[in-house]
Point group: C2
């Protein structure tokens, strides 16, 4: 009888689950909590988790209870009771170290010393019962522990005898939204801004809660709501009320709100005649404004500032330095514990010999001049989020200034939300780069997580790829970049394969073959984009302004460093930007032995060759092919690789719901067509310089002129003109 | 044993259903198919529907099968088999009249004569078995019948012995999307455009299918994809490929695609030096362009055109008439069966004495001059989608020209997607207005559904309120306007109470009390908006350009008819626009006895008083109050009514899922606050003319100056400037 009941119950479950899975629109991200399919592990969980005791009283504790109820009822399909006293084996005991249920327990509290956010998961006997304790110094640390524990369930790992101590290597893990107040998103490809400013503060969309849940589940603890190309309006009381409403939603999830500060705000909304940071009334205006912000948002995180870059106002308008500007804001924020994140992505109106040198040239001399609560935000590479760049030389250069990393999740230069490109390996490549700063190998990861010197704090930023699309990120696989950013921000020493594995299990299926196929798609995907867009160290060949599609022929624009020809420098002799000592000597900004490695035509790795060298078309590569042949080979390899992704995806069909299966299938087909477009357009164009026949088994479908005349006036993500 | 199994199964269902209902984001609209709760009716259905035979072979037939499978498995929680032979009582027999299972049956085929889309649902004995037959002359008619049948189940009505014949009173039932190619939506308040032009044609979002399903379920059979303020780019091959992809999705659902034609397209994308409709090369260009469109979309519906209005180009640029322009396009479309919908919403650069007169003045003289496949699209009222207008005088004026109705679903002037305003009663009011055209009472509904004269076709348009918000329309209740438009377009003689009942049952609950409460909110809601925004025939007092919030003080704008003072004409004597014979005499455009009714200060109904008359502040109203007192009373009544909606909504809490309950609760609170704002700002302003004390129990929270200085630079839905 029980057996039949079970079978019928199971059938109904399957029926409904199937119904749900047919309609999976991706909204639930990696927090799906669909029933687990491995019956043995479910049994193990059911005996290991018989009741849940959550001790404490805060909004964060409420979040923990809700999340655990959702996760257990969904994953295990049983309602596990929340209790107040430990009476059974298999009780989850959850609370911060001061909660009465935890305070009396014996365990090494120094394990949690490193951070308020560190958590401990420990199998213990409590009141004579086998329990699993999840604790931390703070409720938000407990929440991180709970999400870690739920992840164990989602990925079907055993939970007995598995003690865990975990603390973040970087203190501030922040998303940067390039969202405008009109809800357009600069470089946004997943619809429009999440923030419905018009209906805030009184209408609080459920989506804000789910956004916070998702971030919290991967350890992101800050969000900059507005575009670095800032509008001062967001600092007016009208908008601060709205910002407060968002901050109130995010707070229980451990997430602080930050804003972008437009440097000229004192003039635009303050009625002053100057924004000169040395003027008393300007300083006073910012002091008052900051006080006003903290009245709305008591745990306000601080400002992100883009100044004197791409037309944005800044201290240089008044012959002051970046340090002068940053310090003025830092002084206003310091009494409240706020920080200034000052972007090093600068270039002024004088076009330099080599744009990649400018950040170093401007910021290196300022080393040591910034306030303690200023942190300089540096992009991973010296140019601008290209598919491949060397690490930014500033990471090896600043002795006395904390630096934070700026990664870009939104795929401005990697195929928008149409191309599958798992970016974790790109970020890992950067984080593992050896800078040789401080006379040690010092990887970038070590630099940005370094708390050993007098730096007040550490930080990492990711330019968000999140919009109001039903699936948040436009491409189902783009969610993996949000996920990976959070995981790497927490632990910049972790590896991409592990991250991909977790994400794929939670997002698609625990089926071993499916995981294997999906990982085989994800892990090489960024390298494929490099191959079919900008192989061998080429960079910035994308369409002008919108950056969509290939356009290596771009020239004659208002600035020479806004053209493609400036970067590839192809001529009848060869191709590439000579940044060695015989060229722009950008290499002098790197420490030894990095400098020598890249300076040498022979030792410079293939993947950065044309970044640093102008190389003859006939140059023999390590493969034995000439440079021209190697370029053809690489472009074609990228195309073949995308085709391979299509084959791998087809194999997942049985394990993936219809909606997402079809979405990815269609997107991969577009990616394939666009990879072919990139290959053909770029090689036809470069062929006009190399004068050599195509190498390899492919033939462009159109003439170069065809590709050159294509126009995309409404490509998404462009700066709006209103 | 069975009993226990049942109970467990039932429990599991409830559990999952609960989980689903907690997370109801409104995406499923009125097609939710959650399990029915009335056990008796479910038993009735289960015995009446034991198997389903769908006979036919087309994409539409596939749609029918999918929809029935979803609906029955969801609503009845049982998998009803699809079969090929009738073997049991309770078989649904579905197919068009030529399908072999239907062709042999005895029934009166003349019932389906009126329209290809008419359907018949008939209880019959077929092959000795009790069957329910759903048939039509076309597969899309069958689909409408199936959706009707599903609606019976959703609303828990008995299906035995209930024969139905149903045919649409209007042939073309069309949504107008004011969507731009950059995905902004003019007057859109539900996010941004559904059409992801960038990733079309290769990426076909699931949402397009669900959009088509929703439309088809309520009988909408056409969609204009692009804004009437048109961009010629959509007519280029690059975009026509994308249009084709959408048309291919919509076709199986019986939905035709239309485009807006920018009159100057021959110059902008055709390289011609003129767009003069009398020029041969211009005519040829359009002929060729139309051929090209039909190569992409063989069932293309035709063009919607806004010409010589608000700066749009048109035939008058070349001293040609609207008829000349429309006929040129009509001639190009005629060979393919396409139509031209030419908008009568015109006003030229010369500001007229009374803008409401212009459409009549320009179009009345053209009566009889249009080609047969031209239909003139007229807004419900003579101004511009105000909360209340009299019906448009053109509906009583054109003897030889078919007119189509243009309603506005998107709440440009009725509180955006923030205010709950069920618009069906407003449309019903217009449709039931007696025009006295053709020397008969002739209601507007009769005029637009009149096929008795030589009109080739009839049509109705609704300006869509649909965007990429998760719940499609921004406000959960705004979905009811999409629903009601479809239902009224099919049957303009139906009534709002019945429509509200259906919608509320399918969208929220079949619980009788809940339905009653929800209907009590919906049915008076539009009248409340009239009361707190523009009572007694006032109009166009909204904020300039964005139309958000009260701004009766607007003056000194580029055009006098873009100001509020032009419309309300308040002075020390009184208020209102004199459109009688002593004023602009707009009334002369109406037939008798309408004209006399409105001309008389005594007989003119209160609700249109200030539309037609300039009335003394001391004028005694039928209520016994003076005009000024009545205005105060009305504004306050609106506020009180919104408060009452809040109370009614609170009562639904137990029957409505948490997410939508909270969303509506928050939105009602905003609506209440904004109703107060409207009341206070308008009355304070009008008080400066009336010089009388406030009447009633309320006190404005701020000064008039406070309200006047409010600014909303990023209010949604404004025309973008890029």
């Amino acid at each position: 009888m029980n057996n039949l009941a079970c079978r019928i119950g199971y059938f109904l479950c399957c029926l409904l689950v199937t119904t749900i899975s047919i309609a999976d629109d991706g909204y639930r991200l990696w927090l799906k909590y669909d029933p687990l399919t491995d019956r043995a592990i479910v049994k193990h969980y059911q005996s290991s988790i018989t009741s849940i005791l959550v001790d404490g009283n805060s909004e964060t504790i409420d979040v923990i209870k809700r999340e655990l109820a959702m996760a257990t009822s969904g994953l295990l399909q049983s309602k596990i009771p929340f209790i107040n006293r430990i009476e059974k084996n298999g009780t989850l005991v959850i609370g911060n170290i001061n909660a009465s249920s935890i305070a009396s327990l014996q365990f090494d509290r120094s394990l949690l010393q490193k951070s308020e956010e560190a958590y401990l998961i420990k199998n213990m006997i409590v009141k004579g019962k086998r329990c699993i304790v999840i604790t931390s110094r703070s409720d938000r640390g407990v929440l991180y522990g709970v999400f870690y524990f739920i992840r164990l369930l989602q990925t079907q790992q055993r939970i007995d005898g598995r003690d865990v101590v975990n603390s973040p290597a970087i203190a501030n893990r922040i998303l940067n939204h390039w969202d405008n107040l009109d809800r357009t998103v600069e470089r946004g490809y997943a619809g429009f801004s999440l923030w419905d400013w018009h209906r805030l503060p009184a209408y609080v969309d459920q989506r804000y809660h789910d956004y916070a849940r998702a971030n919290s589940s991967i350890g992101i603890n800050g969000t900059v709501l507005t575009n670095v190309n800032a509008n001062a309006q967001v600092l007016t009381p009208f908008y601060l009320e709205k910002v407060k409403a968002l901050a109130d939603v995010f707070r229980p999830y451990g997430i602080k709100v930050y804003l972008t500060a437009r440097f000229s705000a004192p003039m635009e909304i303050g009625g002053l005649s100057t924004a000169d940071p040395s003027e008393k009334n300007v300083q006073q205006w910012w002091n008052d404004k900051v006080k006003e912000i903290y009245r709305h948002v008591p745990d306000f995180g601080g400002f992100l500032v883009k100044a004197n870059s791409e037309g944005q106002p800044g201290p240089q308008n008044y012959k002051r330095t970046h340090a002068d500007g940053a310090n003025m804001l830092a002084d206003a924020l310091a009494p409240f514990g706020g920080i200034v994140m000052w972007r090093a992505f600068v270039y002024d109106n004088e076009v330099p010999v080599d744009r990649t040198k400018q950040a170093y040239n401007e910021f290196k001399p300022l080393d040591g001049l910034f306030r303690k609560n200023v942190i300089v935000q540096v992009k991973n590479g010296p140019l601008d989020f290209q598919p491949r760049e060397p690490f930014h030389p500033l990471f090896g250069a600043m002795e006395k200034t904390p630096l934070m990393m700026e990664f870009q999740l939104t795929q401005e230069y990697l195929g928008f939300a149409t191309h599958l490109a798992f970016l974790s390996p790109m970020w890992e490549e950067c984080l593992k780069s050896k800078t040789f700063a401080h006379d040690k190998p010092s990887t970038v990861a070590e630099i940005i997580s370094d708390e050993s010197r007098q730096y007040q704090s550490t930080a990492i930023a990711g330019v968000a790829n999140i919009g109001n699309d039903r699936n948040w990120c436009g491409h189902p696989f783009a969610q993996s970049n949000w996920y990976a950013f959070g995981r790497l921000a927490w632990d910049p020493f972790s590896n991409s394969s592990q991250i991909a594995d977790e994400w794929a299990r939670m997002t698609f299926s625990n089926d071993q073959n499916t995981i294997q196929n999906i990982k085989s798609m994800m892990l090489p995907s960024r390298e494929l984009v490099v191959s079919y867009m900008t192989p061998l160290g080429l960079h910035h060949l994308m369409g002008w302004n919108h950056h969509y599609g290939p356009a290596p022929w771009i020239k004659d624009k208002p600035r020479v460093d806004w053209t493609s020809v400036y970067y590839h420098r192809a001529d009848s002799m060869g191709i590439g930007f000579n940044r060695t000592s015989t060229g722009s000597n950008a290499l002098e900004q790197y420490q030894q032995p990095v400098r020598d490695l890249y300076e040498s035509l022979d030792k410079c790795p293939d993947e950065l060759l044309l970044w640093f060298h102008h190389v003859s078309w006939n140059h023999k590569m390590t493969s034995g092919r000439t440079l021209w042949e190697e370029m053809c080979y690489k472009y074609q390899a990228g195309v073949i690789g995308v085709n391979n992704m299509k084959t791998l995806w087809d194999k997942t069909r049985a394990q993936v719901d219809e909606e997402r299966y079809n979405a990815v299938k269609q997107l991969l087909e577009i990616q394939y067509q666009e990879a072919v477009w990139w290959r053909d357009a770029c090689l036809l164009y470069f062929q006009t310089f190399s004068k050599k026949p195509m190498y390899g088994d492919f033939k462009p479908a159109h003439t170069l002129e065809y590709y050159q005349q294509l126009e995309f006036p409404f490509a998404p993500g462009i700066k709006p003109k209103w």
